[in-house]
Amino acid sequence: MVGGKPNFILKDVHLHIKEGEFVSIMGPSGSGKSSLLNVIGMLDDASEGEYFFLDQPVHTLKEKQRSQLYKQYIGFVFQAYHLIDELTVYENIETPLIYQNIKGSERQAMVADILDRFQIVGKKDLFPTQLSGGQQQLVGIARALIGKPKLLLADEPTGNLNSRQGEEIMELFKQLNNEGVTIIQVTHSEKNAAYGSRIINLLDGRIENN
């Protein structure tokens, strides 16, 4: 709110994303890309409008149900990785499983599996600060995928990486998408956006073209 007048960050956004899509959201700074991603990721509420996720009316759900839905289906990847500094690679990846009340032995198997897949078994006891940016983001993605989400949300996942590391991440996304994970990423880069099957351009909170 500025000067008493409502100031919409997002306005008249009508968007339908099908399962299995790989969508890239583009737009200049402040156009509302991240806000849109946060609403989709249920981290933020839209002040108006409706949001259906897997046919569930998210805008009417209670916090608890929403959290349940979120834990089960959504994984998040951040530009700044956002790993917990006090936890090792292993523990960082394990944390979402703990929050889902998954049993210890099962957790162990799942984490081992994903460490193996991302080829970071040797790094499992290191702390985030001991890793390079690319490695940290790899851990971030592993963590996002550990709960086997149907939807992966990525907010400029390669923004802090050099181009080679960025390409690797994008290749990984492509591969994940092929395995059936729906991906929505926010990006500045035309090249990265091109990995997606569909590009949405945002300007001043509105969808320019789709």
Partner: protein, 812 residues
């Protein structure tokens, strides 16, 4: 899951080492104090709690009133026992006994008897006692206690008298009391296990008392009262003590004549069994009593110290919230629910409290010193099941107290904002900052209040000890011979003559108690001023001619007592009594006759007969006999540096004389000024406790302050750098950094002063003589607090202010 929480908590604590140390120190001091105080309070409140029907058992006690003074006595006139059993309704059990002290000897075949001196916990009683206070009988039974010359012993006492014998073997043996009363052992009971003041060990059959020196205590006089004569009753269910008290009053009217006497009155009251252990009007059986007020005071101190430690935790945790915001945001986006996060933060608080608790157990013996004046001698410091339970409960309470609010605050963050570090700005206007400030103010109000309290209590004690009481108290000591020695009068005379030959003694007086003591002997005196009778309760001091000079008492008019007793009895009265009698000038009282053939020969200046808690009362010094065969020996020593050097020798010579004349007796003497200091022992204890409480609260509060200032200077590193580059001096920056905190300390002062003023004012009102508290006391204590706060702050601010700005700016 739990493992995960504990692991995370441990890592977080390790990462914030400094804050963890501050928290652990503060909390462990509070916990340690709570632990010790729990032990004390638990000990004192457990007395008599394990007795059957404890809520229905009462002790019959007596309040005596003479003219305007009341004298509480824990005993009852003996005839009441019989009359109550016959005539009072609403009672389903009663026990009476006489507490005595004495000596016992155990005859042995073919050898000299074994003697036991200074025995305590002896009573004369009968079967009734064990009906009210049941015991576990190892041998024999209570029946023989109704007959002559029987005794029941506790197991431990039986072991003392007959080592190695089983209870059955000890039966039938003989114990001879006071060399003249042989008693047969006809019962052995188990020692009392629960905490109790009725921890008697030898129960001599009641009829035997007629053959002892205490025989007149078991007389039939309704007007005779002795605190040795104890009487307990058990009320029927639903009967109120007042109903029985009324019946006792009726009994008195019926049998005694003091009901018609308007001046002398005795009133019987029922004192609950569970009150006997606590100080009040009535003594326990010569045992230590606990003061409920002191216990509550201790509880308050414990609560304060604990809450100050918890406040440090709350302050430091919420202050760091910004740094943890990112982690919280991530955890939320990873699916962590609010409840899971709250659990995590509570685990941190729990872990910290647990560490502090372990440390506090180690700290306890050291902190025991702080409370040593309040710790009963036989207080057990063992880690009992009860104590573990208490510690566990304490850990939970403290965890919730200190962890719950920060957990709520931290878990409330919106993940998106938190990760962008916008969860809150660090402006001092946020609600958490306000809470932190209020809590810091609270800490300093407590600390400030304790400082003021300590200074005021200290100055009152100084006043007590240094006020001119109207007599000399330095370089004087006194002692008295054993009460029950044979040929006491002659031997006292012998000792007196012997003492006169010792050169180191400047003056000697042999008579009644010192001018101020707990020993008060008073008489009701009547004077007729021509129009009406003036009745007053007058304290009587029987003195010799040296007494006034030795104690430096001032004569206002007339003359001193003469050595020879003459009739009528000569009296030197004090100014207060003269005024009560209506004389405005001391001279007017001279030659006046007070009923009972007393003549006033002199008037002395008032002096304090007891502690300064009480007002000066009418007093008369006479040369008559007090009725007591034994007398006190007062000895003045030379009070010069050279003279002092000879004290040891003189006292040794006095001791030798005493030992020669009373062989086998212990020589115990008291310096008069020490005994005066003893009057104020409760205040001294309070002062010690306050000093400790002050020190600890200041320490904990300053720790918290240090934590906060470290945090805030870290946040402002860049600002400090920029300011320095712009030319700010170290002083300017230090004052900038300190300003906010100093403001809090000042606000605390403003709040603390009226509270402390009111509390100390109430306390001072309980004294008749008190010092005046000037404004400077408050100013000084405020200044002291401020200086301490500034010193604490300077530890961090000076370092921050003198840091090289280039460095701090580069790291940004």
């Amino acid at each position: 899951m739990i493992k995960h929480y504990i692991k995370t908590a441990l890592r977080t604590l390790r990462r914030n080492k400094l804050f963890s140390v501050i928290n652990v120190l503060g909390l462990s001091i509070g916990l340690s104090a709570a632990l010790i105080i729990y032990l004390i309070v638990q000990y004192d409140f457990s007395f008599e709690q394990s007795r059957k029907d404890k809520d229905r058992i009462y002790r019959v006690v007596t309040m005596m009133s003479f003219s305007n003074s009341s004298y509480p006595n824990s005993g009852t006139p003996y005839p009441i026992v019989e009359a109550t059993r016959k005539e009072v309704r609403g009672i389903d059990g009663s026990a009476n006994f006489f507490t005595i002290s004495g000596e016992a000897s155990i005859p042995r075949q073919g050898a000299a008897p074994v003697k036991f001196k200074h025995l305590s916990n002896l009573i004369y009683t009968d079967e009734h006692y064990f009906q009210l206070f049941p015991a576990q009988w190892l041998a024999g039974g209570p029946g023989p206690l109704n007959e002559l010359f029987h005794v029941t012993l506790t197991e431990s006492r039986a072991q003392t008298y007959f080592p190695g014998l089983s209870p059955a073997q000890a039966m039938g043996r003989t114990v001879i009391y006071d060399d003249s009363i042989p008693c047969t052992v006809t019962g052995i009971i188990k020692d009392e296990k629960g905490m109790t003041d009725l921890a008697f060990q030898e129960f001599i059959s009641l009829p035997t008392i007629k053959h002892s020196s205490s025989s007149d205590e078991a007389g039939s006089d309704w007007g005779s009262l002795n605190s040795n004569t104890q009487f307990f009753v058990r009320l029927e269910k639903g009967v109120q003590p007042g109903q029985v008290e009324q019946q006792l009053a009726t009994l008195r009217k019926k049998y005694s004549n003091d009901g018609k006497d308007t001046i002398n009155k005795m009133i019987q009251h029922l004192q609950p069994l569970t009150d006997i252990h606590f100080t009040g009007d009535y003594a326990s059986f010569g045992k230590r009593q606990a003061s409920k007020a002191a216990l509550y005071g201790l509880l308050v101190v414990a609560i304060f110290l604990l809450s100050l430690g918890s406040i440090n935790f709350i302050n430091l945790t919420t202050a760091q919230a910004a740094q943890r915001a990112k982690e919280i945001g991530i955890r939320k986006t990873m699916g962590g629910s609010r409840r899971q996060l709250i659990t995590q933060f509570l685990s941190e608080a729990f872990l910290l409290t647990l560490i502090s608790t372990l440390l506090s157990v180690g700290l306890a013996p050291w902190l025991m010193k702080a409370f040593s004046d309040f710790i009963p001698k036989d207080l057990p410091f063992t880690l009992s099941a009860n104590l573990y339970l208490f510690l566990a409960g304490l850990v939970i309470v403290v965890t919730l107290l200190s962890g719950f609010y920060p957990a709520l605050v931290l878990s409330r963050f919106k993940p998106v904002l938190a990760m962008k570090n916008q969860a809150f700005s660090n402006k001092s206007t946020t609600r958490n900052a306000l809470l932190r400030q209020s809590l810091t103010i609270f800490q300093f109000v407590i600390a400030q209040g304790f400082i003021i309290g300590t200074i005021i209590v200290g100055s009152q004690i100084h006043f007590f000890l240094n006020k001119d009481m109207g007599f000399k108290k330095e370089a004087i000591f006194y002692f008295y011979p054993p009460f029950n020695a044979a040929d006491l009068s002659q031997r006292q005379q012998l000792l007196r003559d012997r003492l006169l030959t010792i050169p180191g003694i400047t003056q000697l007086s042999v008579c009644d108690a010192p001018p101020a003591s707990g020993w008060i002997n008073s008489e009701l005196m009547t004077y007729n001023d021509g129009k009406k009778d003036i009745n007053s309760d007058v304290q009587i001091l029987n003195v010799d001619t040296n007494y006034m000079k030795l104690y430096g008492l001032k004569l206002l008019a007339g003359r001193n007592i003469r050595p020879v007793p003459d009739s009528p009895r000569q009296m030197v009265i004090n100014r207060s009594y003269a005024q009560v009698l209506g004389f405005t000038h001391p001279e007017q009282a001279l030659g006046k006759v007070i009923k009972g053939s007393n003549i006033v020969v002199g008037v002395a200046e008032d002096f304090h007969q007891t502690s300064l808690h009480k007002a000066i009362r009418p007093l008369a010094m006479t040369n008559g006999h007090s009725g007591m065969p034994f007398q006190w020996f007062h000895i003045a020593l030379p009070n010069t540096p050279q003279g002092r050097a000879g004290w040891k020798k003189t006292i040794a010579a006095v001791q030798q004389a005493y030992k020669d004349i009373f062989p086998g007796e212990d020589f115990e003497y008291t310096f008069f000024d020490d005994s005066i200091a003893q009057f104020y022992i409760a205040e001294q204890h309070m002062s010690t406790l306050l000093r400790w409480a002050t020190g600890l609260t200041i320490f904990i509060s300053c720790l918290g302050l240090l934590g906060l200032v470290i945090y805030s200077t870290n946040l402002r590193t860049k600002e400090i750098g920029v300011r320095k580059v712009l030319g700010a001096s170290v002083t300017q920056i230090v004052s900038l950094l300190s300003r906010d905190f100093v403001k809090l300390v000042c606000i605390a002062f403003v709040i603390a002063v009226p509270v402390a003023w009111y509390a100390t004012h109430r306390w001072m009102e309980s004294f008749v003589y008190r010092t005046t508290i000037g404004w400077w006391v408050y100013a000084l204590s405020g200044l002291a607090m401020l200086v301490m706060a500034l010193l604490t702050l300077s530890i961090q601010t000076i370092r921050a202010a003198s840091a090289n700005p280039v460095k701090s700016l580069r790291t940004e």
